[in-house]
């Protein structure tokens, strides 16, 4: 059994009398030490998947179907009190913007100690010592002094290191990182990704990396999901998908990247834009933008089916081979 098993996850929002499905039929396994990437454009449902795993979907949204099992326990039916013990402790989350994640009126140390004391019985001295040690592990210079700093006194890169240190504080089994480097510059991004990979590898922590940047996923994960309009359209080994995408959307995304085009030539663009959940087209949600689309595509939603070593939700996936 895998460490984290997500099955047919569905998230629904009740909006103005209608029921909008923000997430439909998402399933995946995550083993200890695995790294999984979730890729998609804004509104595809990537963050929704992360929030659903941690049971953080709030009204008017709810998990309307499916299950999330972690270490043999079903998370989505846990009482709030029990779930709080898992969250931050066994499964930690890293958000995009470190300035929004950290409390600006508390010192770095206060936030770390708060987290420790919520989950463990620990003395002030031990909490401080442990926090400083974690700050050192994420390579923050002079961790003792930084323990007493406020978030605004740190640079963006250092702040994200603090967030990672907090995520590691209770030695979680899984870290979910939602666009952890999107707000950072490329050189800082490279450092932070390097640090996260290193820490995950040496401690056997599993990582779910949510990002819009396929290149980052291609360098850092073993398996990936590609999402579009709330559904998984392609799922499998990262390397294989990058080399030979089977879904027209994945292929379109890769071909639209400037590095996949001849300099100065017209870029291969995907026409149109992703539909909103309220205006999903009938059948395959991607068909109005797809070069392969025909009547079958507007007629029925393609099921996520096995194709070779991979899962693809496309009626015409064979034609892309």
């Amino acid at each position: 059994m895998a460490l984290l098993e997500v099955r047919d996850l569905e998230v629904e929002f009740a909006m103005r009398g209608a029921r909008l499905k923000a997430l439909r039929g998402v399933s995946f396994d995550l083993d200890a030490g695995d790294r999984l990437g979730i890729v998609g454009e804004s509104g595809a449902g990537k963050s929704m998947a992360a929030y659903a795993i941690l049971n953080l979907i709030s009204e008017p949204g709810r998990i309307s179907a499916g299950s999330i099992a972690f270490d043999g326990r079903v998370l989505n039916t846990l009482p709030a009190e029990e779930m709080r013990k898992v969250r931050g402790d066994r499964i930690a989350m890293i958000f995009q913007d470190p300035m929004m994640t950290l409390n600006p009126v508390l010192t770095v140390g206060a936030q770390m100690v708060e987290c420790l004391k919520t989950h463990r019985t620990i003395s002030d001295g031990e909490a401080r010592a442990l926090s400083v040690q974690k700050l050192r592990e994420v390579a923050i210079p002079s961790p003792d002094a930084r323990f007493d700093s406020y978030p605004h006194e740190l640079s963006g890169g250092l702040r994200q290191r603090v967030v990672i240190a907090i995520a590691l504080l209770l030695d979680p089994a899984v870290i979910i990182a939602d666009e952890p480097t999107t707000a950072l510059d490329v050189t800082i991004q490279a450092e932070i990704m390097g640090l996260m990979l290193d820490l995950c590898e040496t401690r056997g922590v599993s990582l779910i990396l949510i990002t819009h940047d396929i290149a980052v996923v291609s360098e850092t994960t073993q398996r990936m999901l590609v999402m579009y309009a709330g559904r998984v359209v392609e799922q499998g080994e990262t390397r294989g998908i990058i080399a030979r995408p089977s879904h027209p959307y994945t292929r379109g995304l890769l071909q639209a990247l400037p590095q996949r085009n001849k300099p100065g030539a017209e870029l291969n663009q995907i026409p149109g834009s992703m539909p909103t959940l309220a205006e999903l087209p009938p059948g395959c949600a991607f068909h109005p933008r797809c070069a392969y689309a025909d009547d079958t595509c507007s007629g029925g939603v393609p099921a996520l089916r096995t194709l070779g070593k991979r899962l693809v939700a496309c009626h015409h996936a064979e034609r892309l081979k």
């Binding site: 454009e41 804004s42 640079s155 963006g156 890169g157 250092l158 510059d185 490329v186 050189t187 800082i188 991004q189 490279a190 450092e191 990704m193 390097g194 990979l197 290193d198 819009h212 940047d213 396929i214 290149a215 980052v216 291609s218 360098e219 850092t220 390397r239 990058i242 080399a243 379109g252 995304l253 890769l254 639209a256 990247l257 400037p258 590095q259 996949r260 085009n261 300099p263 100065g264 017209e266 870029l267 291969n268 663009q269 995907i270 026409p271 834009s273 992703m274």
Partner: protein
Amino acid sequence: MTEPLVKVQDLQVHFPIQVHFLSREKPVVHALNGVDVEIDRGDAFCLVGESGCGKTTLGRTIMGLVRPTVGEISYDGERISGLRDQALLPYRRRMQMIFQNPYASLNPRMTVQQTLEEPLRFHKSELSDAEVREHTENVMVSVGNDPGWGSRYPHEFSGGQRQRISIARALMVDPEFIVADEPVSALDVSIQAQVLNLLMKVRKERQLTYLFITHDLSVVQHFGTRVAVMYLGTVCEMTTPKTLFATPRHPYSQLLLSAIPKLGRKTFVPVKVPGEVPSPIDLPSGCVFHGRCRFANERCKSQVPELKNYSGAQVACHAVEEDRL
């Protein structure tokens, strides 16, 4: 040689910051520290660098939105820095700007038609209503927008559509020079390609000159004809994108290139950069990059390197000059 369209000489921009009103200290942010740039007609000149390197300040100063502390900017052979607002007006019509965030740069209370008409009514007040409407329609069609959008408001459009409206607004007065400040950074990949294609198309059709500000080197490689790499308010390397990607010379350019995630690279190659970008308030002495550069020596700590010509590139680095790399 023909005169460059835009010529920037020894440009310095310092922003004073408030400390305490009784304090005698007068600290300044050194946003630009002696920048020399020439943009030829027809160039797609790219400025790259990380946040805080001064690329946006340079664009805004050229546009006349920020007053230079020291230095000179000429446009088409005429000095435009230091001109009064009134005297600057004819130049304003010839240069336009496209901003990063199409959610913030369009007035939410104005219809698309009003947004597009405004620059035209201001700069070409002699036009009749019918002429204005006709021109608006032509521009909308040329950027691939439905002219029927005119009566709608910005919130009714997606990010990509809004950015196309911003581009249409910039084109309304038939400019020859456009400063585009991170025009695709807020957009998704599939939409990014659409907007980049549009920018390339209008450049060709209208023989535009671009100053393209971005942090994304893959966009530079695809789009640019020339590129300047900036670090902490100075230009460290200036060349063609092709040369930069093939043989980055400045240690900072090399660092920047090595940090880009590569599609299909099988393993993660960690980048080792000692330290962080220093504060632009207390600039380091000598070369601004010396604190993080593994080639730095005593000379780098004391003497500011100048941009010097090497076959195909201008580089500001003592180590390159002394062939120590």
